[in-house]
């Protein structure tokens, strides 16, 4: 056992988990629709207004894994962890400018996935397949990482043991997740997200007020941080150093975020393009929360809880990922630690549910219907999606139980590189039809291959030291390769246009995009 079994925290955790289980099943009757239709099951009937969308997208993007991993990064590596803040600043102008247009065109034509949009816009099923594959493959390791968040908080309450019996709580949580997603579709995570966000905001604000008071103020906390962790290292001569790495990490992550299928699903489930626009101004509240929670990593250093004997086993098993739970156990009374852990644990289920739904939508629409059975009835379509969502989740569970965590983290890094390659086709496609579809497909292929190669060559480090004219530009591989992707598409567009007898059919019209 990692820490002593914490009965009070565990009881609070189980009660809250029981509550959201009930919410998840009851959600099937919320804003009632025919759950045998894919857009009802997989998009909640596109009926969520500004406020529910705020909870849904917030619960979707700010996942349990980020709440565990960012404090862990701050604890281990210092200032660089704060890249999440400029990253989440950059995403909302993009959301504001581009994605209401996506909502409009998808609503007009009944599109459920990014692949559907690309299929309609460019009339090219292979480009749509590329979009769908990137989405599915990038999502799978992301779901697995959500379970890591859950695993860490369960371990922090002293539950666990050797072998499969020790993993039993995780398996139980997972079966609950699978069951309510199957029956209620997107309505379940939307309803649960409201509970989860109330808990996580409470936790964050209590943490950011109580812990600094216990530690004697922010001045003392930051004074305890070693200088090497407090700021980014100044770049060496002829290099953009950590500055360029920090900025490209933020920018690349921002460009990638809304291309993830689960983000796309959250956006498309809104009731109007204006609801999406409004949310671009309201969602930064979560970024503030994320920045504050990242500071928990520093609270760990300042409080020295990582040196305490009762947490040694936890740090030994979960490494830096144990940082946030440890400082919560140390600073909070047991019952409130239970609330905080429930917030993180439920925070794992919400995105995991949405991700599995989004991956299922992609498979059903852009692979199954496109390549296997074009005449699938609406009811069968929804049924296939339900089954695929189950398969995706169990795949993630098996991954976490039997494959070293290292691989899930590496795959998630690759996932970011893969998903960003859909940017030119999807986001530029919202504004112009000037790119040739085959040129975009070539760009996607070059970007995907080069990005994978960069990550592997750097031994799964996110930054690649690009050397040019005597300078070194260490930067996020996803960002460099999406630029390459764009250039390839740009150069090849006139080539393919000259070769093709006729361009692919565009079933959308300019007016379809106007919000």
């Amino acid at each position: 056992m990692l820490v002593e079994l914490n009965w009070i925290a565990l009881t609070v955790f189980i009660v809250l988990f029981g509550f959201i289980t009930w919410v998840g099943f009851a959600a099937a009757r919320w804003r009632k629709g025919d759950l045998d239709q894919l857009h009802e099951w997989g998009l909640g009937g596109r009926r969520f207004g500004t406020i529910v969308t705020w909870f849904l997208i917030g619960g979707d993007l700010y996942t349990a894994y980020t709440f565990i991993a960012l404090p862990a990064l701050a604890y281990g590596a210092g200032a660089v962890a704060f890249f999440a803040v400029p990253y989440t600043i950059l995403i909302y102008p993009l959301l504001f400018v581009a994605f209401p247009r996506l909502w409009q065109v998808c609503h007009r034509h009944g599109y459920i996935t990014a692949g559907d949009f690309v299929r309609g816009r460019y009339g090219n099923r292979w480009l749509a397949l590329a979009i769908a594959l990137s989405g599915i493959v990038a999502t799978m390791p992301y779901i697995a990482l959500q379970l890591v968040g859950l695993e860490v908080v369960i371990g922090a309450m002293g539950v666990g043991g050797e072998g499969l019996v020790g993993e039993l709580p995780l398996i139980v949580a997972f079966i609950i997740l699978a069951a309510f997603t199957y029956t209620s579709g997107l309505r379940a995570p939307a309803a649960i997200a409201i509970v989860k966000d109330v808990l996580i905001y409470t936790t964050a604000f209590v943490a950011i007020i109580v812990i600094p008071i216990e530690l004697g103020g922010f001045g003392k906390i930051f004074a305890a941080i070693p200088p090497a962790k407090l700021l980014l290292a100044a770049p060496a001569a002829n290099s953009t150093g950590s500055y360029g790495a920090y900025a490209t990490l933020a920018l690349g992550s921002a460009l990638a975020l809304f291309l993830y299928p689960h983000s796309m699903t959250g956006i498309l489930a809104a009731s109007s393009g204006r609801a999406v626009r409004r949310n671009a101004a309201l969602l930064p509240a979560y970024s503030l929360l994320l920045g504050l929670l990242t500071l928990l990593g520093f609270f760990v250093i300042a409080s020295g809880v990582d040196k305490l004997p009762q947490f040694a086993a936890g740090f030994a098993q979960f490494k830096a990922n144990f940082a946030a739970p440890a400082v919560m156990l140390w600073a909070f009374p047991s019952w409130f630690a239970g609330v905080a852990f429930a917030a993180i644990g439920i925070g794992a289920l919400v995105p995991a549910a949405i991700m599995s739904i989004a991956a299922a939508n992609l498979y059903t629409r852009n692979i199954h219907r496109e390549f296997f059975n074009a005449n699938v009835a609406p009811k069968d379509e929804a049924q296939i999606a339900k089954w695929v969502s189950l398969i995706v989740k169990f795949g993630a569970l098996i991954f976490i139980l039997f494959v070293p965590l290292q691989y899930a983290i590496q795959l998630q890094l690759l996932g970011g590189i893969w998903i960003i390659q859909t940017f030119p086709a999807v986001v530029f496609g919202l504004f112009t039809r000037k790119f040739n579809d085959w040129a975009l497909l070539c760009g996607w292929l070059v970007g995907t291959v080069m990005g994978t190669w960069m990550a592997v060559a750097m031994n799964f480090n996110a930054t690649y030291p690009l050397a040019f004219a005597g300078w070194t530009f260490p930067g996020y591989a996803a960002f460099y390769t999406v630029v390459l992707n764009f250039l390839v598409a740009l150069v090849l567009t006139p080539v393919f246009n000259a070769m093709a007898s006729q361009p692919g059919r565009d079933e959308t019209a300019a007016g379809d995009y106007v919000v």
Binding site: A79, F82, V85, P86, T88, I89, L90, Y92, P93, F96, V97, R101, G217, F218, G219, K220, I221, F222, A223, L230, L231, L232, A234, Y243, G244, Y246, A247, A250, L251, R277, R278, A280, A281, L282, P284, A285, S287, L288, G291, L292, L295, F431, T432, R433, D506, A509, A510, Y513, V514, V515
Partner: protein, 65 residues
């Protein structure tokens, strides 16, 4: 397509969004300890403040466009 859609929806107000993004990406500007605020180094409080600014800027652009 009959008409050219590329300029549809552009507004000069969007420049505010670009300024916001540029500020978030200009790392050398904010990678310092001083001035501190309640003991928090500039690097941290500036970026958190920029989050609040981003909400305000987007809200303003939303209302006026």
């Amino acid at each position: 397509m009959a008409e050219k859609p590329s300029n549809r929806g552009w507004s000069w107000w969007y420049l505010l969004l670009i300024v916001l993004c540029a500020a978030a990406l200009w790392v050398p500007f904010y990678n310092t300890v001083d001035p501190t605020l309640w003991g928090i180094p500039f690097f941290y409080w500036f970026q958190l403040l920029l989050v609040l600014a981003s909400a305000v800027v987007i809200a303003v652009v939303h209302v006026v466009t």
